[in-house]
């Protein structure tokens, strides 16, 4: 029976090039969705070949079917629950021995499998010889050689996938292992079939290994039998079930290697090792890394400037063009909503895309080259003193761009306590959205030469505070055994433009999505709250006074000055009548100890939703005009007139520490699976921001 439609999954170690094989098979036609019940994005695509239609799903990389992180669990869950027609095991040919460990476990599942020896070009280049036919006959599964990044082997693989029916795999190492183990597995799997026939051998093996997640799905009497057998094995053979089985898998693998690998390549090893001796040097490692970080941030900021300027002009132009669609001088709610609310709000966020994009680009290059793994390794010791660990590093660096992808990046942390701690402090890495706040306040109060150092001080403050919080959290809240650092360090290689761009866009895309959805909604809401209710009757007859002035004989300059003062007063009255205005007034007493008056308070209210809104809201309050950008000289003048530098610092501190935006809270909820931690994060950060700002402001006032 030939099936018209096939479903196929790609499983393999991280760094095995699964994604390039996926792209090679599906071309440009793939979509991102969600695994049901899990938040990780699911990548699926399809292709047609030999009259059949094949659906391909790319699974997250995993080293074993006993999962480390939630991500790793997905591969196993999808294979077991969805029963794909074929499992394609993508292997890094230059790393055959370790990659085969997963292969062994997949074979235990009894699936229909194709082994893909990927990165074949690299294997050839380093002089590695693998007899793929011999491998095929040993494993009794088809073996295809590919170089996914160059598209080589595509036809052969597609042929293999669409070829006639394959037979399910058999656990190869079982027949070569000690008698006692063989008998134990046979007995247990027979018993396991009582509940369910599927995957009985694999389940039996996992139970003997003591896999907790498999145990939770099985009947108590099966578990008892498993414990008894495992105990018996340990007595007889002197080693735990876990270690015994792992050992047997590798023993079989070693035999495979001996029979299949004809020449072992060494060159790439030594190059990477030589590089490592410098980059992970006991004394030079960290300084080199710090220089690298400095380069990354300078690159980002310097290159981003002109691009951001361009975007600013673009949105301004867009605003004016749209505005011009209405007749001059007309009053239109819709126009205001679109120009001020939507274009102003969303534009304000998207202006920062270059900054964020460039940062993520740099990070992707470092990741793809293999350097980031070394960074995690070098920084692990220091991070542990800070209550985190080496693998928290990359997510936190990403946080300097945008907190949303940073929290998503914590998926690589296997330990839930480490992960939660990292998620809680990620917002303290000053994100791109806060930049306009600093860029507006600092030049308003401080001379040129102070500016760069001040920005640096703010960023460092965020880092220092996060260290304190992380230590506290890890010791008191997310307590648990200290996790141990273990991470594969892939060989260094030149990042390919395709994969760098893909990783960059994955993360920058989160920022854009946030802008397009949440920020858009919030901009509209904020605009509504800041425009209604409308005040119709004022304390002063503004229209009358303005008309009188215009027809008077006073000098031009005096007239225009007085008129603009009147306009300002009117707008202020209008604003205080609105919802935002009233809320600001009401909350003001609570914020006054921090040095904030009702105007700053109002702006902060807008900023709760999204930090980017702070500047524009402040502009509205000071009636500077529809688009207050951080370069707006008049807004800076207003700030200088009305506040002290200390108050400026207080504003920035509060913006730094308080929750960056509602999008962050939403992602925290999704990734932690509960509202509890999201709320803890929101209220915790707000309380922390309040306390720190209070202390700094009050101390400052005493001292000055």
């Amino acid at each position: 029976m030939i099936k018209e439609k096939l479903s196929v999954v790609l499983a393999g170690n991280p760094n095995s090039g699964k994604t390039s094989v996926f792209n090679m098979l599906t071309g440009a036609r793939h979509t991102i969705g969600n695994y049901p019940g899990i938040t990780v994005d699911r990548k699926t695509g399809s292709f047609n070949w030999n009259g059949r239609s094949v659906n391909v799903t790319d699974l997250p990389g995993t080293y074993s079917l006993t999962p480390g992180s939630p991500e790793e669990l997905i591969a196993r869950t999808v294979i077991m629950n969805e029963n794909p027609d074929i499992v394609i095991n993508v292997i890094d040919a230059s790393n055959l021995e370790r990659n085969l460990y997963l292969t062994m476990q997949l074979m235990e599942l009894g699936v229909r499998m194709i082994v893909v020896l990927n990165m074949w070009d690299v294997a050839e280049k380093i002089g590695l010889g693998i007899d793929s036919e011999k491998l095929e006959s040993i494993l009794s599964v088809p073996v295809v050689k590919t170089t996914g990044s160059r598209g080589r082997g595509s036809a052969e693989l597609k042929d293999s996938i669409t070829a006639s029916e394959m037979i399910p795999t058999v656990t190869p190492w079982l027949s070569n292992c000690p008698e006692e183990l063989q008998r134990a597995v046979k007995k247990l799997s027979a018993k396991a079939e009582n509940r369910e026939r599927n995957h009985s051998v694999w389940r039996a093996v996992k139970l003997l290994e003591g896999d907790a997640s498999v145990e939770s799905n099985e009947e108590p009497d099966l578990l008892d039998a498993a414990h008894a057998l495992a105990g018996f094995l340990e007595e007889k053979l002197g080693v735990s079930g876990e270690m015994l089985i792992a050992g047997e898998r590798y023993r079989f693998i070693e035999n495979i290697i001996a029979g299949v690998v004809t020449r072992s390549g060494r060159e790439r090893e030594t190059f990477s090792d030589r590089l490592d001796s410098v980059l992970t040097h006991r004394h030079f490692g960290i300084p080199v890394f710090l220089v690298m970080m400095y380069l990354v941030f300078s690159f980002t900021f310097i290159l981003a400037e002109p691009l951001m300027g361009f975007l600013e002009h673009f949105f301004q132009f867009l605003g004016e063009t749209v505005s011009a669609l209405w007749p001059v001088g007309s009053e239109s709610m819709l126009r205001d909503l679109i120009v001020e609310g939507i274009i102003g709000g969303v534009g304000g966020v998207l202006v920062f895309l270059p900054n964020i994009f460039l940062l993520f680009l740099a990070i992707s290059v470092l990741e793809d080259s293999g350097y980031m793994a070394r960074v995690a390794f070098i920084m692990d010791g220091a991070m542990r003193k800070a209550g985190l660990q080496g693998k928290s590093f990359v997510p936190l660096i990403i946080g300097f761009g945008c907190t949303v992808p940073a929290i998503l990046a914590t998926r690589t942390l296997e330990n839930r306590n480490d992960r939660l701690t990292t998620i809680m402090v990620a917002p303290l890495m000053s994100c791109g959205a806060r930049l306009p706040i600093y860029m507006m306040i600092i030049p308003a109060f401080f001379p040129e030469v102070w500016r760069a150092p001040l920005v640096w001080i703010i960023y460092m403050t965020g880092i220092i505070v996060s260290v304190g919080i992380a230590r506290f959290l890890r010791k008191r809240v997310f307590t648990g055994e200290e996790t141990h650092f273990i991470l594969e360090l892939p060989s260094y290689h030149m990042p390919t433009p395709v994969s760098v761009f893909r990783h960059t866009w994955d993360r920058a895309g989160e920022y854009v999505k946030k802008a397009g959805t949440l920020i858009l909604a919030i901009s509209v809401i904020l605009w509504v709250f800041s425009s209604f209710p409308e005040k119709k009757r004022f304390s002063v007859d503004y229209d009358g006074e303005i008309a009188a002035l215009e027809s008077s004989n006073l000098p031009e300059a005096v007239i225009s000055d007085s008129i603009s003062n009147l306009e300002s007063s009117r707008r202020r009255e209008e604003f205080m009548y609105t919802i935002t205005g009233r809320l600001g007034r009401t909350i003001e007493p609570i914020m006054r100890p921090l040095g904030f008056d009702w105007r700053v308070t109002t702006a902060l209210l807008g900023a709760v939703a999204a930090k980017e809104a702070f500047v524009s809201q402040l502009g509205v309050v000071f009636a500077v005009g529809a688009e207050a950008e951080e370069n707006s000289a008049t807004l800076r003048e207003k700030l200088r007139e009305n506040y002290t530098p200390l108050q400026g610092i207080a504003m920035m501190l509060f913006a730094l520490i308080s929750a960056p935006c509602l999008a962050t809270i939403a992602v925290t909820r999704k990734e932690t699976g509960s509202w509890k931690w999201a709320m803890v994060q929101l209220f915790g950060l707000t309380a922390l921001a309040y306390s720190v700002t209070f202390i700094v402001y009050q101390t400052g006032k005493l001292v000055m």
Binding site: L96, D211, M243, G247, E269, F485
Partner: protein, 59 residues
């Protein structure tokens, strides 16, 4: 923990080559054809018997 070590190739009696580090500090080792970084907590618990290469016994 054993699972994570095994999955990366560090099983009982595995042969490793120490690339960087010594004693019980952080280390980079070659094992089964790949390179793995391990932290203090693990390296201090690995017993190694020198051989022509090294053999590892996890404890």
């Amino acid at each position: 923990m054993i699972q994570r070590l095994s999955a990366l190739g560090l099983t009982q009696y595995a042969t490793i080559r120490i690339l960087k580090g010594a004693g019980s500090g952080p280390m980079i080792v070659h094992v089964r054809g790949s390179r793995v970084g391990i932290g203090r907590g693990i390296s201090s618990r690995i017993l190694v018997r020198p051989f022509i290469s090294n053999k590892v016994r996890a404890s």
